[in-house]
């Protein structure tokens, strides 16, 4: 089964302490691993002020999870997250396609840059050669 890269960001409620957020993260990690996915990276942003209140929460703890899992699994992970208490919002985004595109652009640009430099060097050499 092909694995795809996902980026899952969720907001935990403001009244949860750091330890509780950690357990929540572990739960979500469990959801992913149950569906044959692997968690690659967990980034905790800590408590941040929300741009607008969600329910009674003015703040929320953000946690970002980078995972690779089969595409069919993510809907189940989402369903489970939806019924988990303590999660205000979540967003799962597939990023592998976008990243690939970005990488390709970058390499193309790098190549262009290097050929341009090479041509400039060539010209320089020709100029110096003519001067001698």
């Amino acid at each position: 089964m092909s694995q795809r890269q996902y980026e899952i960001l969720f907001i935990a409620e403001q009244n949860l302490g750091e330890a509780e957020v950690d357990t929540l993260t572990a739960t979500v990690k469990g959801f992913i691993e149950k569906e044959n996915g692997t968690v690659e990276k967990i980034e905790k942003w800590g408590k941040k002020r929300l741009a607008y209140p969600i329910g009674k929460n003015r703040e929320g703890s953000y946690v970002l999870i980078l995972a690779s899992s089969p595409g069919s699994a993510i809907s189940e992970v989402e369903r489970r997250m939806r019924v988990t208490d303590g999660i205000l919002r979540f967003l799962a985004v597939r990023i592998d396609a976008e990243m690939k595109k970005a990488d390709r652009k970058k390499t193309i640009r790098g190549k262009k840059e290097s050929t341009r430099r090479a041509s400039v060097r060539e010209k320089d050499r020709a100029f110096e050669g003519g001067a001698q």
Binding site: Y52, I54, L64, K106
Partner: protein, 113 residues
């Protein structure tokens, strides 16, 4: 925040240029398409706007990169049309999706009073 590229745009481009001031940016008028009524005397030149994202070489518009996105939303926090910023169509689409995502995650507001 994230370890991906986080290019910043200087200032918020929406400021100081209300909806009415569209396209009146450059007094110097470097080769611009003639605006409406441009041929009648004293017509203003339109500065050709270039896509910021293309020129800054942003490959992936990340919804988590609020600094970048805030450059595209004025004080009212509305997404401004393309003609205000001169972003190219593909870039504007990317910006739009990113803003919608960031809004959902309460990273940037839907609107401000």
């Amino acid at each position: 925040m994230s370890d991906m590229e986080t290019p910043e745009f200087r200032g918020r481009s929406g400021e100081g240029r209300g909806p009415a001031g569209e396209g009146r940016g450059g007094e110097r008028g470097e080769r611009g398409a003639k605006g409406p009524g441009g041929s009648k005397g004293g017509g203003f030149f339109r500065r050709r706007k270039t896509c910021k994202l293309c020129s800054e070489k942003v490959d992936y518009v990340d919804y988590k990169n609020t600094k970048l996105l805030l450059a595209f939303i004025p004080e009212r926090a509305k997404i401004l049309p393309r003609r205000m910023f001169g972003t190219c169509a593909p870039c504007q689409r990317k910006v739009r999706t990113a803003i919608l995502r960031a809004r959902q995650m309460a990273l940037i507001p839907y609107s401000t009073e």
